[in-house]
Symmetry: C2
Subunit: 400 residues, 2 copies
């Protein structure tokens, strides 16, 4: 059996980032930049006032000096003339510093009377001026390729005069749930059957990870039905199946996809919950076969699908970030499988406390939905007592 | 001047959550539940097998016992008969436990020959069975109102047989940028003018915070133009303006909105960057007036707009979560204003290290976009040396 780390590395080595597309800047937040954004102008474009006040010559800005106001220059309306000795121009935040002036005295430090100001506090040289190019200059790389665009980046690209940006295409992830026992919510449920939770859980997961989900119709436990589902996934950047990936008589995903040309890379991982997990390629399309149990499917999605979507989308694919917590209850020794233990999470004055749920059955979706964290336990981890530090994946922080 | 905390409390006290709407479960991730999701069925619906194996009577599951296979029951195809002494039914993960059987012996622990199995390892009582209702029972509250729906919640609502859920309407936030000096990216730029970065930065911010942005056309520095912008915001849950919120001769947002009936709540906060900030109501619509400088606008959005959108959307509105970091460079004493210092952030073996940028000018959007964190400094904070612990807001973790 492969380790989680080995399996993730194999998956990531099989993945290429999607190609570029041009999108309106207004739609680019959360996308991954494919082409650097270079400044198309210098910012500020000229020396600008950082305050409301008066542009003067610093030599005039001495206490009790009386200066005559020769004009007003709101932001966006530069003063066309020249400021000479004994003169001042009224400015506002963002106004261009007029020729001849070399400092800005703030309005709180003068007394105005009609068209003159009296200086109450010395101005100082070169005060309250934002210099041309202080933020960036034409040609500067404002945002490098490969960056996940934040709201701040959108503002920066706008300031650099870009109405459009080039980003990686959102990876399209086809999701194929299989099984005779599952129905969609609101549809008829067979005797002994259950409602399918995986397909739409994974669709929401894919969206949160930056992908575009395509939920395929449920495939019955039938070689042809599953193979038809794989056909319906053509054009997707990845096919994700759930259920039927083991070797039971009724686990038909492998033979069905092999009939369509699947080249199988691996299908067993030393982890709990989550065995078995299948990975391979159908032509150029990577295929990830997740377990049918919703808890196992979610944990495998977190460990393998999230990094795969990141890599497809142009980001580095990495293991989920872990943090440290103290155990709120003891854990028995672990066996040969890496274990992801569902836990309640709370914070006390010393940091996070993770308390494993008593029942860890991989069918228990409610327990998973209520879990604040997964405790990550290495294979063969010794028994751990209450209060001991453990590694956790904080699910709340991931928005999934 | 108000403190940041007082201003946030005043804003939140003026806000009511949006009403409910019914959405398809597939579109509900990231929305806030308005009506609890109750289980419409019991899960599992019956005792189910947790493994691939054979349903038998535990009394028969002794070493070397030979049992006859009387049927096969794949998941979704329950066995209609009864398991008597000496008999076994082939099961798979998710199969219903047939009548008469009281344990499942896993396939690895038997040897099958035609229609019999030989027990190689004692079965034990009540093994490998998921009990009916182990996850939840009809009528259980699966997800309480007020919860931000995760991918796991979507799976849980599906499992509870809900094709639709009732969520709070996404708060519609109208954004009105004002100023004679600003243009949209790609449009003509006036002499001394700059490209508007606030409107689309804030639109992306609103989306990330769970709101629905409406970007209004830029309003020139003209009372009528700004008042017309406010008219265009009717029907929104909140109006956010940027620029023109001070008291300079060209700061026209207050008089323009007052002409339309704005009841002004406050307009000065003891913080940096960010003064002035305006808050009030136009009829039933809250109005938040942000500063025009993009850095100030962003910091005010983080401290006031994000909690306001959360509260409009049915969540508790709270201050941004802070974490602890060590200073990577010294800070001078602070004045009477709470300060949000842009900083580079990196992690070493002892945790986060926040290094304040040398220039903190509120016009420098590139510095903001590159900041990993804001260091939050209380008013009158003493000088702090390198290595001292400070409170930070980790911007990367917020996805903005």
């Amino acid at each position: 059996m492969l380790s989680v780390e080995q399996a993730r590395a194999q998956i990531l080595s099989a993945i290429k980032a999607t190609g570029p597309e041009t999108v309106a800047l207004a739609n680019a937040a959360g996308r991954v930049l494919a082409t650097p954004v270079m400044a198309r102008l210098t910012q500020p474009p000229a020396d600008l006032s950082a305050m409301d006040g008066y542009a003067i010559r610093a030599a005039d800005g001495v206490e009790k000096a009386i200066l005559s106001i020769i004009g007003t220059a709101p932001a966006g309306h530069p003063f066309a003339g020249h400021v000479s000795a004994g003169q001042a121009v009224r400015l506002f935040t963002g106004s261009v510093i007029p020729n001849g002036a070399d400092t800005v005295i703030i309005q709180e430090n003068v007394t105005r009377q009609n068209d003159t100001i009296t200086v109450n506090e010395a101005a100082g040289a070169a005060k309250n001026i934002r210099r041309a190019g202080q933020d960036f200059a034409t040609g500067d790389v404002l945002i490098p390729a490969g960056k996940l665009l934040t709201a701040r980046d959108i503002g920066l690209a706008a300031a650099g005069n870009h109405p459009w940006v080039t980003v990686h295409r959102r990876p399209k992830i086809a999701i194929l749930a299989t099984g005779d026992e599952i129905s969609l919510p609101g549809e008829a449920i067979a005797a002994g059957g259950i409602v399918s939770s995986n397909a739409h859980m994974l669709a929401a997961f894919v969206t949160a990870a930056g992908g575009e989900p395509v939920v395929l119709p449920i495939a019955r436990d039938d070689i042809t039905a599953i193979a038809d589902g794989a056909d319906a996934a053509r054009g997707a950047d990845m096919l994700v199946t759930t259920g039927g990936a083991s070797v039971g008589d009724h686990d038909l995903v492998q033979p069905a996809l092999q009939a369509r040309g699947l080249s199988l890379d691996f299908w067993k991982i030393a982890m709990r919950p989550g065995k078995p997990l299948m990975f391979g390629n159908l032509g150029e399309m990577p295929v990830l076969g997740l377990p049918g149990n919703p808890v196992s499917a979610f944990v495998c999605a977190l460990l393998f699908l999230q990094p795969a979507i990141a890599a497809l989308g142009g980001l580095p694919g990495t293991a989920p970030t872990t943090e440290t917590a103290r155990l709120g209850a003891a854990l028995k020794p672990n066996d040969q499988r890496e274990d992801y233990v569902r836990a309640h999470l709370h914070r006390d004055s010393d940091g996070w406390v993770a308390t494993p749920f008593g029942m860890q059955d991989s069918g228990m979706l409610r327990t998973l939905a209520n879990a604040g964290a997964l405790i990550k336990r290495p294979a063969f981890d010794a028994a751990r007592g209450t209060g001991v530090a453990v590694e956790i994946i904080r699910l709340g922080a991931l928005g999934i």
